[in-house]
Assembly symmetry: C2
Homo-oligomer: 206 residues x 2
Amino acid sequence: MKNVITISRQYGSGGREIGKKLADKLGIPFYDNELINLAAKESGFCASVFENAENKATNSLLYSIAMGMNAYGNQELGFTNLSLDDRIYLAQSDVIRKVAQKGPCVIVGRCADYVLKDTPGVINVFIWADIDFRIKRVMESDNLTEAKVIERIQKIDKGRANYYNYHSSEKWGRAENYHLSLRSDFIGIDSCADCIKSYIEYANNK
Amino acid sequence: MKNVITISRQYGSGGREIGKKLADKLGIPFYDNELINLAAKESGFCASVFENAENKATNSLLYSIAMGMNAYGNQELGFTNLSLDDRIYLAQSDVIRKVAQKGPCVIVGRCADYVLKDTPGVINVFIWADIDFRIKRVMESDNLTEAKVIERIQKIDKGRANYYNYHSSEKWGRAENYHLSLRSDFIGIDSCADCIKSYIEYANNK
């Protein structure tokens, strides 16, 4: 059964909402902030340390320097020489693997597609949308001015891309990293969830 | 109505076959090599000159040099200072615009998504597939050894990427260039055509 779904998404594209709707339609768990809290509990870190891990990586060079290149080579030796961010990533990855092992679920963000790349039964989805749609959505949900929203979208997407590119050595938003990529504003949030559900059914019936 | 569908595809991914099936399901024309011949007739060029235009661009730097950077700035002055390849591209683009104006259709390759980027009612699709699936497909269809097929896939995909990146100033295979991107081997050729058809219906019913 191919029923572990990871969703990567541009900020404001509705990716999180699509993931939630999909999980509801399939009757399976949805992991987003819950995942952060789970990770926090498992590792003994404070939850607030985790919350911005994915979004704060706004400069790829500085991020790489801060994280220490090739730090993962030390993973098997325990946490020696790993930065706090690396340790958070490893703890999150551990949780992602555990929830995926438990059974079908939807996981949003946190490089889950890359963390689970060798796990059978995983389907990776990318959601993007027209910039005007994203600006409108974030202005409405967060009650911010257009200028503030544009700044926030650029900052958060840059952070997500750097976080993904650093941890995965792949390119965020490259079609080949995902089984299915969708432009959400063109068909709507609900239809995206239906579209992903159809793809899962096609994969399971193949 | 959103019924002009462009399909970009990795070599061997089944993108052309998916496009043909989709056109049949929708009862609309399908343009691939026919497009080349149409372009040849319209421009007065010999058809054979056109046939390899998309696939031969195997080195991006050499390609850019050969094509002459910023050559398009001269488009309005007629064909002065344009290379043969530029003239072929412009003639093809002209045909793509004309067939899209005529009505619903499926167009495979030739940067059609970029050529039609300001045309309302266009849906852009990208098809990719696992490398083993592609190798097997090409070995079977062209009766070649695995080594020859791998070489051909690398060469043709590099050519398609360079052709697209040069003409569009965008990145081939970036999810954000396409409304819908699909991994074809995971659900099968038929299901891909159905999946695209559903996306079109969702877009038209929105």
